[in-house]
Symmetry: C2
Subunit: 527 residues, 2 copies
C-alpha cells in the first residue's frame, strides 16, 4: 500500500511539475510580455524630470492648482487652469480686427452681388445642358462665421471661451454647400504647367473653396494619406503630401497651446457629386471630374490634368473625407502681409540656408527690423514650438494682419505638412528657440503644464480630437510623439537657462502674470 | 485505504481531464487552424473539375504520364512531360534569327567603336573633375548573351533546354556593370515635359540601360512597390507603376507556359553609386542624381526632373532592388516591327474601343490581314492568355522580328504592369479568346496540364521563382490568383466548345501532336 501511495504521489508530483513547467510558466511569461505590449512604450520615457519644476524663477507650484478639473476631463481641467484664464472675457472694440457694422455692410453687398451673378448665370445655364443645383443664400447677421470674423482681435483669432467657435465647427460639418470653386492659389496657376521649376506638390492643388448656405466659406483639403502611413524617409519635406488630419490636429494643438492663431478646422465627408460637381459654376472645375475604373467619382488638379493622372482623389463612390478650414475675412477688408520666415528652408535638393550653417545666426536677426524690438521674434519662437511639436518643416512664410502693425500675432495657416513622421523629431525646426535662447514666459509655463501628468499633452489632444467627426484624427504614435517632443523643447530651454540664466531666456510677456495674473491684454496696452 | 486510493484516482482523473480539456484540446484545435493557415485557402477552390478532362478531343490521359517527375520537383516533372518535349533539340541554321558569323562581326565592330569612344571620352574627362570608373571590355565570343542572341529562332526566343539561358541569368546577376545610360525611350523624351498629353507614367521613365563587362546589355527597372501592395482600385491601368517583380515573374510564367517569348529577366541589387553614377558617361544621367533627406542615393527621371520630385527612386543607402532584362539583338541587325494590338484599350479616362462594345468584333478582325490566315490571331490569343494570368492590361502593341515575316512569333516585352491586383480577375483581357473562340491545341493542353494537381501552375511558378536572387518574387495571393485565373481560361474555352464544338475552337498547331508528338518545328516547316 505504501508503495502504491508513493507511486501515486510520484505521478502526481510529476504531473504538477510538468504542468507548472510547460503550461503555467510559459503562460506567465506570455502574460508578462503581453502587458508590456499593451502599455504604451513611450509613456515610460515620459515623466517630467523633477528638475523641470525648479529651474524657472516661477514654478507651477506657485499657481493655484484648483483648476485641475474634476478628474473626468483633463481638457476641461486645462482650460479652467489659471494660466488659461488670464484674459478679460470681452475684447474692447478698439482691439478688434473689424468693426461689426462695416463688416455687415461689406457682406450684405457681397450677398447682393452674388445673387445678381447667380441670376445671370442661371439664365445662361438654362440654355445649355448643364444642371447646377441652385440654392438660396440666407444671409444671417448672427451667423457663427460672422461672429468668428468680428471676434478676431489683436491678441488672437478667437477668444478662449467663445461659443461661436464650437458652433462654427458644427456649421462647417453640417451646412449645405451651395457653391464650390478652385481656391485663389489654384486659379493663379491658370491651368498651365510651369515645368521650369519644381512645382508645389500634388496635394496643394487639390483644395477647394466651398460656400455654405449662410454665405460662410471654408477651404476643403481632401484626404491623401492613411492615418497610419508615415512619410517615407527619402521624401523631401516640400514634396510631401498635404494631410487633412494634420490640418484638423493643428487647430486643436494651437488651441491647447493657447495660441489661437489657427482658423477653426473640422473634418467632414464631402459628397463630390452633390456638394462639388453639381454646385460649381466653374467649367474648369467641372472639367477635372472623372469616373475611376472602380466607378468612383474623382477629380484632379487643373494644372496636373494635362500632365499626370496620378494626382487624383476619389470618393467612395462619391463621399470623400477631408478637412474644412474656416476662411479668414477677405483680403480687401482685412489685408494681411506675408513675410518670409527668417528660418526658411531651402526648397531645393542641395541648398542650405544661412541659419543651418551659422550657429550665431540669431544674433544677426536680433539686430534686424522687425525682430529687434517687440514680440516678433518671440512670436517666431512660439511658431517654431508649434511646428516642432507637429514636425512641420514647411513654414516658409508667416502672415500677419496689417491692421495690427508689427505687433500683430502670427497666423499659423497651412499646417497640412505636419504629423508626417511620428518616429522622428526634427530638431532643426526648433532652431529659432535653440539659437536665440528666448521664450515667452506664458508659453513656457503652458508647456510645463502640458508636461505634467494631469494635463499631459497627448491626453488633452486625444480628448480634444475626439470632438471631431472624423476621430481618431491622430494615431497613438503621433500623440506619444507630442509628449516626447514637448520634453525636448523643455530641455532646449533648460540648456539655454543653464548657459545664460533664467532672466535672459524667459521673457515676461505678462509681468508676474502667474503670481498675480494680470491680463495679457493689459500688459500689451501698457507697452 | 480504499478511500485514499479512490481520492487519488479522482484527483488524477480530474487533472487529466482538465489537462485534456484546457491544454490538449485547444492545442489540437490550434494545430488544426495552423495547418489551415499554412495551406493556401484558394487551393480548395481549385481542383480541376472532372469535366475538363473529357471535353477536348484529345485528353491528357492520351499522353505518356511518365514524365511527371520524381515527386520532389513539380517543375522538373513539368519540363520532362512529353508536351514540353515536342521540339527537336537543335535548331537548323535557316530557322535562326541571326547567323553566328555575321553577329560576331557586328559585335566586334561595336566593341572596337566603344573602345575608341571611351579612349576619347577618358581623355576629355581627365581635364574635368568628374571621376568615371573605367573598366576594360572583354569581348568573349562564347559569352552567354551572344549564345542567347544566336539561339533566337523562328519558334521562340530560346529553346527549352538551352543551358546558356540559365548562365545568362547568372551573368546578369553577377557581372560588373561598366556603363549605364538612359534607355532609348528615355532619350526620346529629350528632357522636355510634353504636357499637351497624358504622359506615360512615372515608372516608365526610371529604367536604365546597363552594359556588362562582357559587352552584354540589360535593362534595369527599379523596385517601385512592395510585394504586398495592391494597385488601388481607382488607378487607371495606364498610370499604374511598373513593377520589377512583375518583369521577373512574367519571364518565368512565359517559360512555364512554354511560349518562350519573353527575354531572360533576373532580379539584382544595383549599387546606384558604383554601378550607375560612377560608370555613366552621360552628363544628363549624372545630373538627375541627388541625396535624399535620409542620406540615400536617389535618381529621378529626366523629363520629370524639372516637374516633380516625387518620382525618384532611392537606394538604401546605395543599393537598389530591381529587375534586369536581357537586351534583344540591336534593331540594326535584327529589326522588329511594332503593331497595334487589335484589342488595344483606350488610354483616356472615358474612351471605349470597338472591341469593348461590339461582341462580334472578332468576326471583323478575322477578315483583316494579317489575322485572316496563319497563326497570327492564335498568337494574339496566346498573348491574351499570358496577360490574363498576370492581370496585365497594358498590351497596346506587340512586336515581331521582321526577319520571320507574318509567321513570326509575338514578343512578350514590357510586362511590368502585370501582377498589380491579385484580388481581381480582369476578364476583359481574355476578350481575344472569348470573342474569337479559338485557341491553339498546344496551348490548351499545357493549360490543362498546369491545372492538374501534380503540375499546379502556382506550385511550378513558386518553384521556378525560387531560383531568382530576389525571391520571393510574388506573394502567395498572386500565386493563388494564377490557379484561379487558369480555371477561368479553361471555362472560357469550354463555353466556346459547347457552343461551336471542339473542332472549330481547338486549332491544331501541331497536327495530332499529342497522340504522336511531331515536332512543332516540322509542322511549321511543312506549311
Amino acid at each position: 500500500m505504501r508503495k502504491d501511495r508513493l507511486f501515486l504521489a510520484v505521478i502526481l508530483t510529476a504531473i504538477f511539475s510538468a504542468d507548472l513547467y510547460f503550461i503555467l510558466l510559459p503562460k506567465l511569461r506570455n502574460a508578462g510580455d503581453g502587458s508590456g505590449r499593451f502599455c504604451s512604450c513611450q509613456r515610460s520615457n515620459f515623466s517630467l524630470p523633477g528638475q523641470f519644476s525648479n529651474w524657472t524663477a516661477l514654478t507651477l507650484q506657485d499657481l493655484d492648482p484648483s483648476g485641475r478639473g474634476n478628474g473626468s476631463s483633463k481638457l476641461d481641467g486645462l482650460f479652467t487652469h489659471p494660466l488659461y484664464n488670464t484674459e478679460k472675457p470681452t475684447v474692447a472694440a478698439a482691439e478688434r480686427l473689424l468693426q461689426s457694422d462695416r463688416l455687415m455692410d461689406y457682406y450684405r453687398k457681397k450677398v447682393s452681388r452674388w445673387e445678381r451673378h447667380m441670376k445671370l448665370y442661371n439664365e445662361a445655364v438654362a440654355a445649355s445642358n448643364i444642371t447646377v443645383t441652385d440654392y438660396q443664400v440666407t444671409f444671417d447677421p448672427d451667423a457663427n462665421w460672422l461672429k468668428f470674423h468680428t471676434g478676431i482681435s489683436r491678441h488672437a483669432l478667437y477668444s478662449r471661451h467663445d461659443p461661436a467657435i464650437a458652433r462654427l465647427l458644427l456649421d462647417m460639418r453640417d451646412m449645405t454647400v451651395i457653391n464650390s470653386d478652385f481656391t485663389q492659389d489654384e486659379k493663379a496657376l491658370k491651368g498651365t504647367c510651369d515645368c521650369s521649376q519644381v512645382v508645389k506638390p500634388s496635394g496643394h492643388h487639390l483644395k477647394l473653396a466651398l460656400k455654405m448656405q449662410n454665405f460662410g466659406k471654408a477651404m476643403f483639403k481632401p484626404m491623401r494619406q492613411q492615418r497610419d502611413e508615415e512619410t517615407p524617409e527619402d521624401v523631401f519635406f516640400f514634396v510631401d503630401v498635404q494631410r487633412h488630419n494634420a490640418e484638423i490636429a493643428a487647430f486643436h494643438l494651437d488651441s491647447i497651446l493657447d495660441f489661437r492663431r489657427v482658423p477653426p478646422v473640422v473634418g467632414r465627408f464631402l459628397n463630390l457629386t452633390g456638394e462639388v460637381l453639381q454646385v460649381t459654376r466653374n467649367d474648369d472645375l467641372r472639367g477635372v471630374f472623372f469616373t475611376s475604373p472602380a466607378n468612383n467619382t474623382c477629380f484632379f488638379a487643373k494644372c496636373l490634368y494635362v500632365c499626370k493622372t496620378e494626382y487624383a482623389v476619389c470618393g467612395s463612390p462619391d463621399l470623400l473625407e477631408g478637412s474644412l478650414s474656416a476662411y479668414l475675412p477677405g483680403l480687401s477688408i482685412a489685408p494681411r502681409i506675408s513675410i518670409p520666415n527668417p528660418w526658411i528652408r531651402s526648397y531645393t535638393f542641395t541648398g542650405q540656408e544661412e541659419w543651418q550653417v551659422n550657429p550665431s545666426y540669431c544674433d544677426t536677426i536680433k539686430k534686424l527690423y522687425p525682430y529687434n524690438s517687440g514680440n516678433r521674434l518671440l512670436n517666431i519662437i512660439d511658431m517654431s514650438v508649434f511646428d516642432f511639436l507637429m514636425g512641420n518643416m514647411d513654414r516658409h512664410h508667416y502672415e500677419i494682419f496689417t491692421e495690427f502693425g508689427d505687433e500683430g500675432f502670427l497666423l499659423h495657416l497651412d499646417n497640412a505638412r505636419g504629423f508626417g513622421k511620428h518616429s522622428k523629431d526634427e530638431m532643426s525646426i526648433l532652431a529659432p528657440l535653440s539659437q536665440c535662447c528666448m521664450i515667452k514666459r506664458s508659453t513656457l509655463l503652458r508647456l510645463q503644464l502640458l508636461a505634467q501628468p494631469q494635463f499631459r499633452l497627448s491626453d488633452v489632444m486625444r480628448e480634444s480630437l475626439q470632438k471631431d467627426p472624423l476621430h481618431p484624427i491622430l494615431t497613438e504614435a503621433h500623440l506619444s510623439a507630442l509628449d516626447r517632443r514637448l520634453i525636448k523643447i523643455l530641455r532646449a530651454v533648460q540648456r539655454c537657462t543653464r548657459k545664460l540664466g533664467d532672466a535672459r531666456v524667459i521673457t515676461d510677456d505678462f509681468v508676474r502674470a502667474a503670481v498675480n495674473p494680470r491680463a495679457y491684454t493689459e500688459s500689451k496696452k501698457a507697452r
